[in-house]
Symmetry: C2
Subunit: 208 residues, 2 copies
DNA sequence: GTCTATACCCGGATAGAC
DNA sequence: GTCTATCCGGGTATAGAC
């Protein structure tokens, strides 16, 4: 048993040097993508980086704090995906439908990240950064709805909820397998969300 | 340390007698309601029943099999809650909206059970009973939609998805705290889901 | 059908050396 | 800032007695 540490196992270079914090977030994203948030552990992230289990505690108070960091990143990616869908040349209704579709498509393409955001019982009071990170995406939604509803603030608020809930529902059902496991399921769900959004807009008089 | 087993702890009577299987499902429902599916363990359920950790394995192959049994029960309760909302005297649109509201209200009233159904990564291929248990609720939905869409099967299928996704979205956002933590949040979400359902019906032409 | 006992593995978290 | 070493707790699952 005289094996030195570097003998056993296909570990990467160690992080004696710099940004272990950032490296941990990267590793966490990878691991969560591979095995889900549920089975994610600080210990395994440490192992993957070739670092001892004690090291992360210099950078994160506990496991949850690292998961929160992943959530911040995930909200950023989600916001970018939705914003990328906005084409100012399109009429507002079309834009809103595209945003709903992008939301669902993001969930289908990044199920683990989406799960971090909504299925990991993360404490948003303890980690206000997470709530903060969600604001860009929310803003894109509300401002687009405002264009449709004009100055009817009550309708705008209700329609915003309805569109958000519908897109979110398609996304979660997609991840639950309701639309099948095939690679086409994501497109089916995204298309459904987009058209449902249009239907909500058309029938919005019934919202009040 | 000569304490006999019955000395330590406020255990209930032991189950040397009968329906440990049913008792385990009951205990699981309680525990999951108290602490969530995530933190549910066979071991703790055993403890609560005053039974050793080995006993459950006579009745369930593993933890997941017990969780699946809880899911079957939960789907039954959900189906009953939705069906109870159907009043044949009402017009179909109103009925559908009421069902959506009932779905959301069930989630708000039984967050843990709802979480078992959709947030516990339960393998529905391994446990087909779970999928089976969902059918009554689905049937109530589809048959109501059929009354609205007449013989347009494609529209019916799309509207069914849209209504389901919308109700599901309101339910999951409700449990995520989006509508606040107050006791009124459930009613807000349920009302929103019902009205959004009406809007989807009104605007259903945009679904195709 | 339930018990006792135990083997096993894993994760969280900390103390103290370097 | 990372290491070594370790404690602690918890859950899963099995073997074999009763």
């Amino acid at each position: 048993m005289s094996a030195t540490r570097s003998d056993r196992g296909p570990r990467r270079r160690r992080y004696h040097h710099g940004d272990l914090k950032a490296a941990l977030v990267d590793a966490a994203v990878e691991l969560i993508a591979e095995r889900g948030v549920r089975n994610f552990s600080l210990a395994e992230a440490s192992r993957r980086l070739g670092v001892t289990v004690a090291a992360p505690y210099r950078h994160f108070a506990d496991r949850d704090e690292l998961v929160a960091a992943v959530a911040v990143r995930a909200f950023g990616a989600l916001g970018a995906a939705v914003a990328a869908e906005v084409d100012d040349a399109d009429p507002p209704a079309r834009r809103l439908a595209a945003m709903a579709g992008a939301y669902v498509r993001f969930a289908g393409a990044n199920p683990a990240l989406f799960e971090v955001l909504f299925g990991s019982g993360i404490d948003k009071d303890r980690f206000p950064q997470v709530r903060k990170a969600a604001e860009p995406a929310e803003g894109a939604l509300t401002s687009c709805v405002a264009l449709i509803c004009g100055d009817d603030a009550e309708l705008a608020a209700t329609l915003t909820d309805a569109v958000a809930a519908t897109a979110h529902g398609y996304a979660t059902l997609l991840l639950d397998g309701t639309f099948g496991e095939a690679s086409t399921a994501g497109d089916v769900a995204a298309g459904g969300a987009a058209r449902a959004t249009l239907a909500l807009i058309e029938g919005r008089a019934a919202l009040l």
